[in-house]
């Protein structure tokens, strides 16, 4: 079986990786593993988008995981655009190395897998490690538009709808991963895109009765979005009648 075969390889690799890592004790390996997990999650979201009607629970859980990683990477200051080819590439060693991520926080030597939800650190041992992480995190070139924004923008951009992620994946070339997390602009709300109905269940703002015509809750980029939100709602009415 797929899982069994992979496991056997994992065992072998894990031993090697463990041996190597035992001496490493640097943050960068953790970042690499975290990046692998992010890649894998994005691939999963993309794949499930290709199914006829994806499992909403699974999609939400994967999206939450992606969000978590992003938030932590932002905290570390290591967030950068995912390289286009990263999505397709899934080398065994990179995937295997993510085994490390499965371990509990306190087991990781030198790494700080803090919850990263932005609200401070609760445990002593973990908080000791965190400042070390921040200081040592390598500064990567900030190539994405994303990074130019202030922290508040970043946080707002995290809360992309599953819908937008799915629409991106559908309408764009899958290699344009960086656009996945950039601010939403008009292309996303093409009439065609909305009517395609790939994510039948996860449409924004259904119009049941009167509530639907109200503008969407203003987000960080409110002005642009509320107009598009209204358009979307109107289309939704048209589509559902």
């Amino acid at each position: 079986m797929f899982a069994r075969g992979l496991k056997r390889k994992c065992v072998g690799h894990e031993e090697d990786v463990e041996g190597a890592l035992a001496g490493l004790k640097t943050v960068s390996s953790y970042s690499l593993q975290r990046q692998s997990l992010l890649d894998m999650s994005l691939v999963k979201l993309q794949l499930c988008h290709m199914l006829v009607e994806p499992n909403l629970c699974r999609s939400v859980l994967i999206a939450n995981t992606v969000r978590q990683i992003q938030e932590e990477m932002t905290q570390d200051g290591t967030w950068r655009a995912v390289a286009p080819q990263a999505a397709g590439r899934a080398p065994l060693d990179r995937l295997v190395s993510t085994e490390i991520l499965c371990r509990a926080a306190w087991e990781q030597e030198g790494a700080c897998p803090a919850p990263g939800l932005g609200d401070g650190h609760t445990q002593g041992p973990v908080s000791d490690l965190c400042p070390v992480t921040s200081a040592q995190a390598p500064r990567h070139p900030q190539s994405s538009v994303w990074e130019m924004d202030g922290p508040r923008e970043n946080r707002g951009s995290f809360h992309k709808s599953l819908d937008q992620i799915f629409e991106t994946l559908e309408t764009k070339n899958p290699s344009c991963m960086e656009e996945l997390f950039s601010d939403v602009d008009s292309p996303y709300y093409d009439l065609d895109t909305v009517l395609t109905g790939m994510m039948g269940g996860a449409r924004p703002g259904p119009c049941e009765g009167l509530e639907g015509l109200a503008p969407a809750t203003p987000g960080p980029s409110a002005s642009c979005k509320s107009d598009l939100g209204e358009l979307d709602h109107v289309v939704e009415i048209l589509v559902e009648t």
């Binding site: 997990l37 629970c57 371990r103 809750t217």
Partner: protein
């Protein structure tokens, strides 16, 4: 046995080529009725097969009744939603029996979108001696009739008919994951990822929405409903679980839309165990009230928890199902096994709980003695009256002879669905295409009571 030969007509439409088992035979739900006399299974192909327990023979008191096929019918067909260009699977997600009130049986079966009420009834007599029809049913020329007679009921071969009595459709935008019959026997609820609807059995074109967690902006969606159930005695109370590991108890008397819970059950997170997979493995896949109504049991990826309804801040009992998987979460995330939804069940007296695992293993936990056992459901182990041997998974280095190492587990063989007889020690365990039924005698060991063959093999 010297009894009459069982001449029940089995609906032959489900007989298939015996040489291979198709994906449509994958069992997706198992459920005993309230007396335990009937066991219903649903599969991915939309079929329901009902087994009935044989009456015990007077001459062989100690021999338990066996379960034989009683009825089989196609409950749901695949559909196509033209507006969204989506196919709607016919897979039966859940079956729930209604309490029996007379000689007919009623059950609810549901796929992702539509719930159906099925009536299963027996016919063992038929009228004979019509005046206007002859024995084959052909009409007779009235001119040829010279005498009149009164038709009489004569016994016939037992026939079991299943007819759809109600179809509850078009009420769910998302996939239905649960149905639950209310203790008032007049209403039931159906739950999908974001909403829960309340139905009256008599009314199919209307339902009440009692829970709606869909955010105004789908951007903000971070949590979905994973399971829901009515309280066994209080018809106003129900619970629903979420993908974030929380359970909400709601009282329908409080308001029409139960968006505000009456009780909120959540265990604080253990920071030392935190990883990127913490949320996924905390997602609750099943929630079940105890028969007493005092407790609820929840199943998440690695554990089963028992909660006291009177204590919201943590469960009273936690059982590790397969904690050795904790270090494998990344691989399990990669091959999607981490999203498997296991069910859990109580025994009749609420003293033992059971749930499934991988490698065809299933686990039982005795709440009183705190002992647990791992058993395997496989054809090799399931000869009639063969005793099931407890299994053990070896975690550390040295593997004993009978143990199996974590890396050798077969993750394609998962026991997701199990059921427990309401009053006896008989369990039904659904493998991929086979339902195993085991019973326990007065001895402590579980015996392989009876093997039910998959749908294809009849």
């Amino acid at each position: 046995m010297e009894e009459d030969i069982d001449t029940r007509k089995i609906n032959n439409s489900f007989l298939r080529d015996h040489s291979y088992a198709t994906e449509a035979d994958i069992i997706s739900t198992v459920e005993f009725n309230h007396t335990g006399e009937l066991l219903a299974t649903g599969d991915k192909g939309g079929r329901v097969v009902i087994f009935q327990r044989e009456q015990e023979s007077k001459n062989q008191v100690h021999r338990r009744g066996e379960y034989n096929v009683y009825s089989t019918f196609q409950s749901h067909e695949p559909e196509f939603d033209y507006l969204k260009s989506l196919e709607i699977e016919e897979k039966i997600n859940k079956i729930r029996w209604l309490p029996q009130q007379n000689a007919t049986y009623f059950l609810l079966s549901t796929n992702d979108k539509t719930v159906k009420l099925w009536k299963v009834s027996e016919r063992d007599k038929r009228p004979e001696g019509y005046n206007l029809k002859d024995e084959e049913g052909r009409l007779r020329d009235p001119a040829t009739i010279t005498t009149l007679r009164v038709p009489v009921l004569r016994p016939m071969d037992l026939m079991v008919e299943a007819t759809p009595r109600r179809v509850f459709a078009n009420a769910h935008t998302y996939h239905i994951n649960s149905i639950s019959v209310n203790s008032d026997y007049e209403t039931y609820m159906s739950a999908d990822d974001l909403r829960i609807n309340l139905w009256n059995f008599e009314i199919t074109n209307q339902s009440f929405n009692i829970v709606d967690i869909k955010p105004a902006n789908m951007e903000e969606l971070t949590e979905v409903i994973t399971a829901a159930e009515f309280h066994p005695h209080h018809c106003n109370t129900f619970v629903y679980s979420s993908s974030k590991g929380t359970i909400r108890l709601c009282d329908m008397r409080a308001s029409a839309l139960c968006d505000r819970h009456t009780k909120f059950f959540e265990e604080p997170e253990d920071p030392s165990n935190r990883s990127f997979f913490s949320e996924i493995i905390s997602s609750i896949s099943d929630v079940k009230f105890s028969h007493s109504g005092r407790y609820i049991m929840t199943r998440d990826y690695l554990t089963v928890k028992v909660w006291d309804l009177n204590m919201e801040n943590r469960p009273i009992e936690t059982y590790q199902v397969h904690d050795y998987l904790r270090s494998k979460l990344c691989s399990l995330y990669e091959n999607d096994c981490i999203f498997d939804k296991f069910e859990c069940v109580w025994n009749g007296s609420d003293s033992v709980i059971m749930t499934g695992s991988y490698n065809n293993f299933f686990r039982m936990f005795d709440r009183n003695t705190k002992r647990d056992v791992t058993l395997e459901a496989s054809r090799e182990n399931s000869k009639p009256r063969a005793i099931l041997k407890p299994r053990k998974v070896c975690v550390g280095g040295k593997r004993r002879k009978d143990e199996i190492s974590v890396d050798s587990l077969d993750f394609s063989k998962k026991i997701l669905h199990t059921a427990w007889h309401p009053s006896e020690n008989i369990i039904a365990v659904a493998g991929v295409q086979i339902t195993y039924i085991y019973s326990r005698t007065r001895l402590t060991r579980w015996t392989s009571y009876y093997l039910i063959i998959s749908h294809t093999e009849y």
